[in-house]
């Protein structure tokens, strides 16, 4: 039981490049989330999903897209990376009725 895993752990991108961050959970959780963490701030919600095939915008969705084709996976895409997207990205999942989110180890992204 690995919990929530994220791939990759660290990545450097050039401005304008694209990439996809993968989040996987093996707890059969319905809900999944993508947050970003910037210095001096708590985590902010980018997008979330309440079930397979569904996604919704969070607090800071601009510049990101997501997909949830399989229940256990939640992908975060950057189509054209910008330096402002330099951050640490966290994925979280939550089971129905649990009211508690469990986090992955984070992905550190540097956009030059």
């Amino acid at each position: 039981n690995a919990g929530v895993t994220q791939t990759p752990k660290f990545r450097v991108l050039k401005t304008g490049q694209s990439m996809t961050l993968l989040c996987a959970q093996d707890m059969n959780h319905e809900y999944m989330y993508w947050y970003r963490q910037d210095p001096g701030m708590g985590l902010r919600l980018i997008h979330y999903s309440v079930g397979e095939g569904t996604t919704a915008k969070g607090e800071v969705p601009d510049g990101y897209n997501v997909s949830r084709l399989k229940k256990q996976n939640f992908l975060l895409g950057l189509e054209s990376a910008a330096p402002s997207q330099t951050s640490v990205y966290f994925c979280a999942s939550e089971g129905t009725g649990q009211e508690t989110q469990y986090f992955g180890p984070g992905t550190r992204l540097l956009v030059l």
Partner: protein, 116 residues
């Protein structure tokens, strides 16, 4: 919109002593959840403790306990018998309980340093 405020950017405590981290929040809801998460240098977000707003009793997890004052919208974390492994960033977080898939609203965090 709900907001969470942690007014202490940094705190220090001597090993084996007790420290209290402060958190206040703003909401018009009556039913919600409050959390403390720990983030050590590894960056992993670890759930420390959870409090349901409808419960008057303060949550406790081993050396960690909270002082939940609903009327004052205050939710402080007390760490007893502090250990070197407690050194981390601590985040207070709020979530509504009314809607499925609700987001967590985080405070800016408090860095806790533990002195040996």
């Amino acid at each position: 919109a709900q907001t969470v405020t942690q007014s202490q950017p940094e705190m220090s405590v001597q090993e084996a002593e007790t420290v209290t981290l402060s958190c206040t929040y703003d909401t018009s809801e009556s039913d919600y959840y409050l959390f403390w998460y720990k983030q050590p240098p590894s960056r992993q977000m670890i759930l420390v403790i959870r409090q349901e707003a409808y419960k008057q009793q303060n949550a406790t997890e081993n050396r960690f306990s909270v002082n939940f004052q609903k009327a004052a919208k205050s939710f402080s974390l007390k760490i007893s018998d502090s250990q070197l492994g407690d050194a981390a960033m601590y985040f207070c977080a709020y979530r509504n309980s009314r809607t499925f898939g609700n987001k967590l609203v985080f405070g800016a965090g408090t860095i806790l340093r533990v002195k040996s």
